[in-house]
């Protein structure tokens, strides 16, 4: 297999992945910064390059509803959204996972209103973290392309919907060299569609999503939890298959470097992985043993892998691009703390909330954070704390 090296933005790479996935149905509604995914893909459909039923709908709620219907009928389905669009899909997210439908959703991570903002942070997908969807966060445009292909493989085997998150603008609108695989290679990797999908059309008639009262609802939810528990195993097999077909190694749940001897370990999600990994390397040059951990798959949460990667450190610094507004810090920090609680000798955790609404994280800020030494608690990086006003 020979990959082609081309310059693509994150959105273009996802649209190209969709074309190669050859979904039976795409129902989508445009929203910044995910618009070009759907725009570009609808052009592929219009030009006859892919034989997909493209359903332009009037809202994101309808987009995901149409995807649910199509997936229940046995179709391979993908869609994309961001921010307010994902918030509007929220109700249907639970229907998709509860019905065990293998829908793939690319989310261009963007801050939520108010105040209105179009730039990147993880508030949108973190609001959907308990909706029963697998969540993977891309590090680069290449990773967004690769992971969109992988997501289809995983969704259809786990019988769960999968979100592939790519940071708004940082990835969606940045041009990067991407190695694109031949269409046939993608076809060989993914096959034709859901392995044994639901079939509302033809065959025996079925009822999808009947009423489940107190005598059975909990059993369905327990089964859903079990499906999520199996995901790491399916993901591990998925990345093995991915390597066989495309020759590329993808981390499945966690990516770690320099954690073996690290006194301080940095944990991050998404596209800031590059900056954070570089900060860890610069710290090493200064003589500070720093390690780098990227959480690739946030749902299900890779607690055991994080305990292995972080257990030896004294200090853990979590970089969170969202806030829970609970007083406990960001969602990644809360869950890293929860995972580490199992350890007898727990590292101290400092949760750093940064980059909300697209605020840049500067190298100097990361260096200063490491040089001054983290002190635990929750820090809002780059926000000037209010000065005490002297009485006039």
């Amino acid at each position: 297999m020979t990959a082609r090296r081309v310059g693509l933005t994150g959105n273009e790479a996802v649209a190209l992945a969709w074309k190669q996935i050859r979904p039976h149905v795409v129902a989508a509604y445009p929203i910044t910064p995910a618009t070009q995914i759907v725009e570009r893909f609808s052009a592929y459909v219009a030009e006859g390059e892919v034989d997909t039923e493209f359903v332009p709908v009037e809202s994101e709620h309808s987009a995901l509803s149409a995807c649910v219907g199509a997936a229940a009928a046995g179709a391979r389905v993908v869609t994309a959204t961001a921010s307010q669009g994902l918030a509007l899909m929220h109700e249907i997210l639970y229907v998709a996972s509860g019905l065990r439908l293998p829908i793939v959703l690319n989310v261009a991570n963007r801050a939520l209103s108010a105040p209105i903002n179009i730039h990147g942070d993880h508030s949108d997908t973190m609001g959907a973290r308990d909706a029963g969807w697998v969540q993977m966060y891309a590090r680069s445009v290449q990773d967004a392309y690769d992971r969109t292909l992988l997501a289809v493989w995983v969704a259809e085997r786990a019988r769960l919907p999968v979100m592939v998150c790519l940071d708004g603008f940082t990835l969606t609108h940045s041009l990067e060299p991407v190695e694109v695989y031949p269409d046939e290679a993608v076809r060989a990797f993914l096959g034709e569609g859901p392995l044994d999908g639901y079939t509302l059309v033809g065959g025996e008639p079925i009822t999808v999503g009947p009423l489940a009262l107190p005598d059975s609802y909990m059993e369905f939810r327990r089964a859903l939890a079990a499906a999520m528990e199996r995901v790491p195993e399916i993901l591990a097999e998925g990345v093995r298959e991915f390597r066989t077909h495309f020759g590329r190694d993808l981390p499945s749940v966690v990516e770690a470097r320099g954690t073996e001897d690290a006194e301080v370990a940095l944990v991050v999600l998404g596209s800031y992985a590059d900056s954070v990994e570089q900060a860890a390397l610069r710290a090493r040059v200064r003589g500070q043993r720093a390690g780098f951990v990227r959480v690739v798959t946030f749902r299900p949460f890779p607690a055991a892998e994080l305990r292995r990667a972080l257990g030896a450190a004294r200090e853990v610094v979590v970089l969170d691009r969202a806030d829970t507004l609970s007083g406990l810090g960001g969602p990644l920090g809360v869950e890293v703390r929860a995972a580490l609680y199992e350890l007898e000798n727990r590292p101290r955790v400092t949760d750093v909330i940064f980059g909300l609404g697209g605020r840049e994280l500067r190298d100097q800020e990361l260096d200063a954070l490491l040089r001054d030494g983290p002190r635990g608690g929750v820090v809002y990086l780059g926000v000037e704390e209010p000065h005490v006003l002297e009485p006039a």
């Binding site: 999808v208 489940a212 059975s216």
Partner: protein
């Protein structure tokens, strides 16, 4: 239904059935008992029953569909007083 959760890995999917095949009476406390000797076949009970549980044929009341009747008592209430062909009796009573 109380299935074991291990058997539910394909999600909430069941064979399709129409409402006719669902028995929806099991919380009934009072049961309408129809006395066809007193019935004048005015069809008011058939018309008013919210669950279509009064069966009729050829313009005449035939029987109560106890698989779907929930015992609301509307049929007995609309039955003309001089006919009084429907009595509500506690479920389980003879």
């Amino acid at each position: 239904m109380a299935a074991r959760w291990q058997a539910l890995d394909r999600g909430p999917v069941i064979p399709a059935r129409s409402s006719v095949s669902y028995r929806t009476w099991d919380w009934r406390q009072l049961r309408p008992v129809l006395d066809l000797d007193r019935c004048v076949h005015c069809m008011l009970c058939w018309l008013y029953c919210p669950d279509s549980a009064i069966r009729a044929r050829g313009g005449r009341v035939v029987e109560v569909d106890y698989e779907h009747c929930k015992g609301c008592g509307v049929c007995a209430a609309v039955c003309p007083p001089r006919a009084s062909a429907i009595r509500m009796v506690p479920e389980g009573a003879p």
